[in-house]
Structure formats: structure tokens, C-alpha cells
């Protein structure tokens, strides 16, 4: 069984095991403006790891994926945010975030290079969860405009950081450093998965 098959199987398994319960990096009570929005993806290691992993994975896949993944993620994330703001219920969001970390870390660990459309679909599913978590907070923000700008910029910054790290670690030791980092991300995701379950 090849590494690619194993990694594809792990990612699919993560999606299938997606349970319907909630666990939270959703801030309670009133939130502020730009600072709160910028802080939200950075203060939650779950968000940070997933978005960091998107950047590394895109860099690892190379070609157009270096930018198509980070371009697609915020667009779909905004859809998730919209769903939250319009009051639609999306159960298991926080668990979905934990699953996203494990799945993306696994993809990096096993250097999975799927067709671009599959990678985009996969990160779109995860982006919905992350966007939903942000969107729950947005209407309560003191300044929703500044809050939205803050968290989109923070998300983009983490993606760029991930791309930079992915490109830097992609060549030395045949990319093993990047894959090891993927393993660390999987461990982080497993921790959140256990907490969520």
C-alpha cells in the first residue's frame, strides 16, 4: 500500500468520523473590533494549526496550489461566517476544526498530492467550520467591519507563514522536515479531537 493511499485513507477516515457534537473556540460575551478579530485565529491554536497547515500543504504540492489553496480558504470561510450570522445551525463545527487539523497534518505527513480540485474541496469543507466559528462572534463585535478585516488578515497572514515555512522546508532532506512538521500538526489535532470527543 503506497503512502499516498494511506494518506488519502486517513483524510477520508477523518471526514467519515466527523461526529455531531460541539466543543469551542467560540468566545462568549461581547467582543471588540480589529484587535479581537485579528486575535481570534491567533489565540486559538486549533485555528492556527489548521490555517498554518493549509499554507504548508499548498507549498508542498507546488504549482498553482501554492496560491489556489490560500485564495479559496478565506472565500469559503466567509460562506461559513455568513451561515453563522444568518442563524443557520451547523452542528459539530468545533469538532470539524479538530478533524481539519488531523486531516491536513496527515496530508502533509504523507506528502499527499491529490488532484487540485480534491484538495480545494477538502479545504473548503474545513473552511466552512472555521468561518462558522468566526461568524458566530461577528455580529456581537463592537465594530463588525474592523472585526471581519482583522480575522481575514490574520487568517491570510497565517497562510502566508505556512507557505513560507513549507517552501523553506520543502527542499532540505527531501522534504522530510516539512513532513515531520505535518506529524506534529497531526498530534496537535489529535489532542483537540480527544478534547472534543
Amino acid at each position: 500500500m503506497s503512502l499516498r493511499t494511506v494518506s488519502a485513507g486517513l483524510v477520508l477516515l477523518c471526514l467519515l468520523l466527523w461526529p455531531i457534537s460541539a466543543f469551542a473556540h467560540i468566545t462568549e460575551g461581547p467582543v471588540g473590533g480589529f484587535g479581537s478579530g485579528f486575535e481570534h485565529p491567533l489565540s486559538g491554536p486549533d485555528h492556527f494549526l489548521a490555517m498554518f497547515a493549509v499554507g504548508i500543504w499548498g507549498a508542498q504540492m507546488g504549482g498553482r496550489s501554492v496560491w489556489t489553496l490560500p485564495v479559496t480558504f478565506p472565500l469559503v470561510m466567509a460562506m461559513g461566517g455568513l451561515a453563522a450570522m444568518l442563524g443557520l445551525r451547523l452542528p459539530g463545527t468545533e469538532l470539524g476544526i479538530a478533524v481539519s487539523i488531523v486531516a491536513l497534518g496527515s496530508a502533509i505527513l504523507f506528502a499527499w498530492h491529490p488532484m487540485e480540485i480534491i484538495a480545494l474541496l477538502l479545504i473548503s469543507v474545513f473552511a466552512i467550520c472555521h468561518g462558522y466559528a468566526h461568524g458566530v462572534e461577528l455580529p456581537r463585535a463592537a465594530d463588525p467591519a474592523d472585526y471581519a478585516v482583522g480575522f481575514v488578515l490574520a487568517t491570510g497572514t497565517i497562510h502566508l507563514l505556512g507557505i513560507g515555512v513549507g517552501l523553506a522546508l520543502g527542499k532540505p532532506y527531501q522534504g522530510r522536515l516539512a513532513r515531520a512538521l505535518g506529524g506534529v500538526i497531526v498530534l496537535g489535532g489529535a489532542y483537540y479531537l480527544v478534547l472534543a470527543l
Binding site: W67, M85, G87, V152, L153
Partner: protein, 244 residues
């Protein structure tokens, strides 16, 4: 890093001039600011109004001269038309009950359009940029007039338009200077961020609608203006009741 070109000095000059003016205005006590200064700040310090102009400036910088000319030719008359017809547009927007939330959707719409101008592939940009620039211009002027406290005095609008043109020109020059493979990719990423921000701001505007028009459960006071029991924080969504 390449050597400085003559155009770089122009960019640096325009940037320093604008930033200098902005700092000088900021150093003024808020109470002592003129309407002109207020107009400049209303554009440059407002995320909702600045971001579409940033997107438009970068999109113009990445386009050919013919596209820029077409975009400017449509941008200016659209902005003037929007200014002249602002009251009719406002009445149309607010026609019917419970429509004030629509005013929250104006700036997000401009953000969306600016994002579209950036993410559009190069081969289609020549078709999409001029109408998008016209729409952004019309929306920008309308949005500025909505917050204009001048009541007929043109100073606020003049300051705001000068600030908007400065921002667009500066970013268009910077984008033209940096245009190349990596900058085009960065511009697309910026475009996706603008679309995301536009969608989220629009969603927040729609969410405001739900909050604003939620039915009031309190019984009406027996005498006009005199509530029967004191107003509590529980009546206001988003305020932590545990803080009382």
C-alpha cells in the same frame, strides 16, 4: 532589489505627501478639525471605505493603459451621477418598512466588487474592470455623502474625494511598479480577502436587520416617555447580563 527608477521618486513623493497630511490632521485636536480634514479622515480611517479603493487602485495598476483610461472614463461620470442622484438613490434604498439595514450593505458591496476586479483572470479584466470601477466610484461617493455633516458645504466631500483619489493613484503606481508574477498572485490573494470581507460585512449588516427589528417583549408604557419599570441591560442583545 533593483536600482531606483525615476518613477519610484514620484511614488515616494506622493506617499510622503499624503502620509504627512494625514499625520498633520491627526495631530489636530478632534474638536478643532475642519470639514475638509474630517472628509479626509472619513475615507482613510474607515475600513469599509478604504478597502474597495485599495482593491481598485491595485486592479488599475495591473491593467493596461487602455483599460485604465476606460475605467477612469466610467469611474468619474458614475461618481458624479451618484452624487447628483443621491437623494433618489437613498429613497429607493429605503422604500418600504424595515429597510434601513440596506445602508449597511453599501460598503460591503464595494468590497465585493473590488475583490472581483482583482481575482478576475487577466484576459477578462479588460471587460470587467471599467464597469466595476464605475460601480465602485458611484458607491464610494454615495457612501461618503451618507456621513457628510456639511449640510450643503462642499468641504467634507472635497476632502474625502481628494483622499480617495490619492489612495487609488498611489496604489495604482505601486502595483504598476511591482507588477510581475509574484505580485499578480499577491493581488489575487488580496482580492479573495476583499471578497471574504465583503461577504462577512454584508452578513453582519443582514444580522443587524434581525437585531434591529426583533419584536419587543416589554409591555408599552402607560404614559408616553415614562417607562413603568427601569430599563435593564437584558433588553440589549450582546450585552453580558452577568455583568449586572
Amino acid at each position: 532589489m533593483g536600482a531606483l527608477r525615476p518613477g519610484d521618486w514620484l511614488i515616494a513623493g506622493i506617499c510622503i505627501l499624503g502620509v504627512g497630511v494625514l499625520v498633520a490632521i491627526e495631530l489636530h485636536a478632534p474638536a478643532g478639525r475642519s470639514l475638509l480634514e474630517g472628509g479626509v479622515l472619513a475615507v482613510l480611517l474607515s475600513v469599509g471605505r478604504t478597502l474597495p479603493l485599495v482593491g481598485l487602485g491595485v486592479a488599475l495598476g495591473l491593467s493596461g493603459n487602455r483599460n485604465i483610461a476606460a475605467a477612469v472614463l466610467l469611474f468619474v461620470p458614475a461618481a458624479i451621477l451618484s452624487f447628483l442622484e443621491r437623494e433618489r438613490i437613498l429613497f429607493a434604498l429605503l422604500a418600504g418598512p424595515e429597510t434601513s439595514y440596506r445602508l449597511y450593505l453599501i460598503d460591503p458591496l464595494a468590497c465585493l466588487l473590488a475583490g472581483l476586479a482583482l481575482v478576475t483572470p487577466d484576459q477578462f479584466r479588460s471587460w470587467t474592470l471599467p464597469p466595476l470601477a464605475a460601480s465602485i466610484g458611484a458607491i464610494a461617493i454615495f457612501s461618503i455623502k451618507l456621513i457628510d455633516p456639511g449640510a450643503g458645504a462642499p468641504a467634507f466631500l472635497e476632502g474625502a474625494v481628494a483622499a480617495a483619489l490619492w489612495l487609488i493613484l498611489l496604489l495604482a503606481l505601486v502595483a504598476r511598479r511591482l507588477a510581475g508574477h509574484w505580485f499578480d498572485i499577491s493581488a489575487r490573494i488580496l482580492g479573495s480577502w476583499l471578497i471574504a470581507i465583503g461577504l462577512l460585512l454584508g452578513g453582519a449588516g443582514l444580522a443587524q436587520r434581525a437585531v434591529t427589528y426583533a419584536p419587543v417583549s416589554q409591555p408599552a408604557p402607560s404614559l408616553p416617555g415614562i417607562p413603568e419599570k427601569p430599563v435593564t441591560r437584558h433588553q440589549f442583545p450582546g450585552v453580558n447580563p452577568g455583568a449586572e
